[in-house]
Amino acid sequence: MQGLSKEREIFARGALVAKILEGSWRGSPPALALSRAALSEAAPLLLRTGAAGLGWWRVRLCELKDSEEAAQFREAYLLHTIQAVLHEREIDQALSLFRSFGVEPLLVKGWAVARLYPEPGLRPYGDVDLCVPPEQYPAALSALESSDGECNFVDLHKGSANLDYADFDDVYARSRLVAMGDVSVRVPSPEDHLRILCMHLLRHGAWRHLWLCDVAAALESRGPDFDWEVCLGSNSRRSDWVACAIGLARELLGARADDTPAADRAGSLPGWLLPTVLKQWSVPYKFRVPVASYLRRPSGFLREIRHHWPNPIEATINMRGPFNGLPRFPFQVGDSLSRAAKFLRLVPKLMRNR
């Protein structure tokens, strides 16, 4: 990357990550032509974000398969593979618990998307996101309380308001049972899940490479009866968000989207969108320490607060703005002020809990 301006260097590194992940969710990914130096540069970023398994999936087929970086990728892939077995046990445990309380949860993201990849070690996940119908939520909470911390890995959602914009009753009605070994797991329909994955990617500013691979994997695994109207919904602004996420998967990772309603949008993404993702992908993710922690220990607050500045994607989504060509700065300011106001409203409660 010598000789490039710093800005171009950043984008080049993000593009390098995208190149390695291109088609990596497929059983037979495309051949990868990459220099050792390029692999060395991208490897820490892939390892850090859990995309190393996908890195291995591609590198294992090229001449760099015996490199040190490939060995690291493979090690991560093996670890993710055995972790997937453990997670399936956890999911079984959680579902048994909830069902014994008369709760039928809907599993989103995590295993529900990992199953779309050709190998379990390619898509690691940590927690288990379970959405329950609002009327079942109290029973679900009781179930979790009764587990005495044994199901701490569950991230319980009342409906899907934090994950999706569609009506949860409809999402739940369209959900289906799929087999995980001997266990039946309720997952969203392919249409709903693709939308949920797109929204999840955008809401978090697309910082994690895997999330865009998830969109690509869900997109390419859809069946011939996939209903785009159900997936995109009737709200034009929101359906445009989803179309843009699909467009990102096509432009950056080579996802096959030509025969979709999102194809046109993929070719006309707003100018700020691709650079935002490439920039995000070119640097290690910086943890955002919750601002509340500085109530106790204010030193370092000013240094930390810089990392809370939202990127244009998350700011636009949080402000429910359109993905158009206008500058994103107003959305970023608006989102920051909105979050600050929410936090200030919480301060008295946090102070009482100190």
Binding site: L47, R48, T49, G50, A52, Q72, E75, A76, L78, L79, H80, T81, I82, Q83, V85, L86, R89, E90, K109, G110, P124, Y125, G126, D127, V128, D129, G149, E150, C151, N152, F153, V154, D155, N162, H204, W207, R208, Y285, F287, R288, V289, P290, V291, A292, S293, R296, R297, H308, R339, K342, F343, L346, L350, N353, R354
Partner: protein
């Protein structure tokens, strides 16, 4: 004599382990120590046959048959040593009649030149911790999203002052302030 027989018929540990077979390796996760191991084919075969009844000699015969090549007892002993170090045996196999005058390194060198099969390998899997999902139990408080990995980091280093629920490898930020 009874003691000798017991030690010569090693027993694989079963409790607290989760295993998964891939095309050419066996992955084992130790739930007690939270460690993952990768066994190559010869180590996996030796481990599979360690039932507390089968002698080292018989293990070598079975290994040779499965691998379709002659297997020396030394190879089995090497596997047992490595499996024992990884805590995958009920108790470490103790050799009562080791090769006189040879160090462990010399034995391995000799074996790697002479053995017709790949030497048993048991490797611990140490991969960098990836940043996991970006959701945590913060939505109820409308605060910035954090991640389970972040929760782990914060709580382990006592920077965030929040209690962290952990089961196995999963972290959950409880967002309950705690004193360190």
């Amino acid at each position: 004599m009874q003691e000798k027989t017991r030690q010569q018929a090693p027993h694989a540990r079963a409790e607290g382990l989760v295993s998964h077979e891939t095309s050419d390796e066996l992955l084992v996760y130790d739930l007690k120590r939270h460690k993952a191991h990768c066994l190559n084919r010869s180590a996996a075969l030796v481990w599979k046959y360690c039932d507390g009844q089968t002698s080292v000699k018989e293990l070598a015969r079975r290994l040779g048959k499965e691998m379709d090549a002659p297997a020396d007892e030394e190879v089995v002993w090497l596997a047992l040593e490595r499996l024992g170090k990884a805590h995958l045996l009920r108790e470490r196999a103790v050799r009562l009649d080791g090769p006189a005058g040879l160090s462990r390194r010399e034995v391995i060198r000799k074996l790697s030149m002479a053995a017709a099969i790949a030497l048993p390998a048991v490797t611990s899997i140490i991969a960098p911790t990836a940043v996991q999902a970006a959701t945590c139990l913060t939505s109820a408080m409308n605060m910035d999203p954090c991640s389970p990995a972040q929760c782990g980091l914060l709580c382990n280093s006592c920077m965030g002052n929040f209690a962290c629920g952990q089961t196995g490898m999963a972290f959950t930020c409880t967002m309950t302030p705690v004193s360190c």
